[in-house]
């Protein structure tokens, strides 16, 4: 079976994510099933992914094939989750619903243009590896960050109390600031005008 361009794109993305393409048709419980493409996950995921081109297959036929495959997998006690990637025009909702009852359905349509790959990746994202952000980019202690950005010769007598008060809230900081500002202004009795 020839593979249309969208199917090829899906295969390329999934292959890049570590899924392996299996020759079609595939036989499950002695029943041969033919799809546009069939991919298997390995370590991270043991999905069975079938790619269906709705332009090629009729809707009802697609439903029969997917439901058949699902029953076959159940029959042999397979614990592989089934994912159906629908390429091409979206089927009728009733068909999609029927498919969703037995599998995960990802309808990618026929994306074109410069953002086509991005769209495909978004749609297939659930099957793709998840890139975590660099944990170092999130801050552990914002106050430490502030301290590290202050110059070395800054007056510790001012910095230390306000940073210490910060966890107590703005009023605590205000109190500390006020104390710092007022401390030199306390001249006591010698500051009283005669």
């Amino acid at each position: 079976m020839t593979q249309s361009q969208p199917v090829t794109r899906v295969i390329r993305i999934l292959s890049a994510a570590g899924y392996r393409l299996r020759a079609s048709p595939v036989t499950v419980a002695s029943v041969p099933f033919e799809f546009a493409a069939l991919l298997l996950g390995s370590d991270r995921a043991n999905d069975l992914i079938i790619v269906v081109d709705t332009l090629v297959d009729r809707e009802e036929r697609i439903r029969q094939k997917v439901e058949g495959l699902s029953r076959a997998l159940d029959l042999v006690g397979s614990r592989r989750p089934l994912t159906v990637v629908l390429v091409g025009p979206a089927p009728r909702p009733a068909i999609v619903e029927a498919l969703a009852r037995v599998s995960r359905v990802l309808a990618v349509g026929t994306p074109t243009g410069p953002s086509a790959d991005r769209f495909l990746e978004d749609t297939l994202a659930v099957l793709l590896p998840l890139a975590l952000p660099d944990a170092g980019e999130t801050v552990v202690d914002p106050l430490n960050e502030v301290r590290s950005q202050l110059s070395a010769d800054i007056d510790e007598a001012v910095v230390a109390p306000v940073l210490a008060a910060a966890s107590g809230g703005a009023d605590a900081v205000k109190g500390a600031l006020r104390a710092i500002l007022e401390e030199p202004l306390d001249l006591g009795s010698e500051g009283l005008a005669t």
Binding site: R44, T123, P129, E137, D141, P142, D155, V173, L185
Partner: protein, 814 residues
Amino acid sequence: MSPSLNSISISNFRSISGTITVPLNAPVVLMHGLNGAGKTSVLSAIELALTGEIVAMRRADANYRAHLIHRGAADSRISLDVADVAGSSTSPHSNVIGSNGIVGGALLSGEGARFFSERCYLAQAALGRLLEIYQTASPREDSALTHFVKELLGLDALDALIDGLHPAGDIRNTRRLSPRYVETEARIGELAERIETNQKKLATTLNDAMQRRVAIRAVLTTLSPLPEPVLGADLPTDVEVLLRNEDDDRRLITFNGYRRDLASLRQRAVPLATTPEAASEAAAVAEDQAARAAADSWRTNTGRPIETLIADLRAIFPDLPSVASTDPTTAFRTATTRMEGELGRCSRSVAADDAVIAQIDKFSQDVEQSRARVALADEQLASITGEAEGLSRALAAIIPHIHEDDCPVCGRNYGETAQGSLVHRVSGQVARLTEQAGRLQGLGQTRASAVAEQAKAERDRDAAVGRRLSQEARTALKARISDLTEANRRLTAVAASVGAGAAAISREAEAQRRLSEIRNRDRLATEVRAALGELCRALEQQSLGTSEAIPAAIQRLETYVAAQEAAHSERLKRRRAALGQYQLLREQEAEIQQLRRNILSDEALKKRWDDAFATAERHRQTAKTVARVAANARTVIVGRVFNSALNKIWRDLFVRLAPTEPFVPAFRLPQTATEAVIAQLETVHREGGVGGAPGAMLSAGNLNTAALTLFLALHLSVRRQLPWLVLDDPVQSMDEVHIAQFAALLRTLAKEHRRQIVIAVHERPLFDYLALELSPAFSGDQLITVELSRSSAGASVAEPTYHNWEPDRAVAVA
């Protein structure tokens, strides 16, 4: 090895009755149970053991600890077994919750506990709160979302720092913050103002004092030459002594004395001005001698007989004044008057006696005539009466003795009989006795009348005799009359010369008086001149010339004295004024000293305040720098966390769960450093461009997804402290598509990112689906499913099932 949860044993905790043990030592633990079976109790028991708190319960009820023990049980027990948790106490960790509280504390330390509560455990209430935050998000600084985000990012402290330091940024805010700051500014201002005022005052006073000194010096110079050379405006050291010199007072007093002396002299000299000076003394002496000679001549020639006459008259009038003792006119007149008076008196006395003699003669004739008539009457009566003659005579004799009605015989009052008068009665009796009663009656009356007249004449004669002068007296009077007449003749003879004498004597007296007057005046003039001469010498004025008139001299000296007095008064006035000025000067000098001291002390004080204020200002600037750095840091942090980390991972997660949703939720960030962190949610279209708020743009299911993915994003965007995700039924309102996606996501987190996942669900199909989706995917991978239920007795039952990896034979991997 990473930290892992191994198992938990729970007794009589919340809805769990009895004891259950839930194994947790698998990458994924999937728990199923109907509502009320105890799913949430198991998860909150894990939280309590790890953190010592159940945050979601605490939010709902601060007193939640009292309700943790299962109803009817005495206490609750939790025992959690973990592995490789840094800083944890011994494992298993046990808590006993009794009536006295929770014993055993938290397995995790503060930071770890917080991380678990906020980033690892998604309680149903927390998901609800996330949803609520979405729906009520408003761009306010105190919105729940802002609080939530700040709390999650640890921005509270930073914002507190920025907000707290805000007053340092602007002097007006600093003033509001610190009254003492304001007071200090005011105090410095007051001091500066006072110093300026005092300096102005000092300058004015100094200038004033200098002018005063110059003025005093000028006065001093006019009063007396300065005793020592004094430069410029300085005053001699003994200025007060010089000013207090009393010479002028003394001189003035002296001149006052002179003025009084002159006034006295002027008064004394008044007679000199009024007495005519024409008559010379010589003429007066001559006149006096002439008058005296004339008077003496009169006295010797004419006056002597008069004097003699008067001396003679003194025999009669002992007190007559002599001519010498009075003056001739008075002496003569007095003598004349007295003598004429006496003469008159004597003459009248004699004349009166003569008259009395004449009366006596007449009264004697009357007596004789009356006696003759009585005798005649008696004679006729004797011829008329007979027998009854005697009685008639007797009665007739009685009649003269009857006066009024009193009977001379019996003494009774005839009037009581009311029968006429007694005389008529007796007369009638007489008439009846005699025939010739009428005649007898007439005779009787006549006799009676004659007797009465005789008696009266005798009485008058006797009285007159009594009034007669004695013979001696009468003789003496006559002699005196003779003497007086003689004297009168003599007086009359000299009467003409008396006037001349009086005039001579008067002229003599007048001449004497005038002479005396002239002599007095000369003496006065001499005295006045002598006194004036003395004054001239005393006043050192030109002595009195012989030709200079006294008034002119007095005038001259008075003018001089007045001038001197005026001059000294003037000096005195100036001296006193200068002394007054000097005292003011002294006060001013004291004031100047005081002002200088005040200025110095104020300046010292101001410097202290200035220094203190400068220090405070330095502190303020430092605080400002800290605030600025903090604001920058916040911008950087917020930008970094939200843009690079949070929004990115959130988008990834959201897109995985809602692949068909074109709008993706995101945090909108403050654009500038000064802008406060106001967490605001927005949506971004996948193709670019900003959409509305999530609440407006997303379906309920996608909102739930957004909340869930935000939690996961927050978990994933920080350093992996605890690789656990404990989720309490997070998919309650998801449709099947979302659930499928969510299952895939959980698998990715568990398998790819090694998160240990404990998840509780209550829907059976979901449980089955998740059990399938989360099945072990490789050798060593494991899934534990736990079925929570209750026994018929009501005790909680946890039935675990262990799922191990089995190679998939149905679709073999080629």
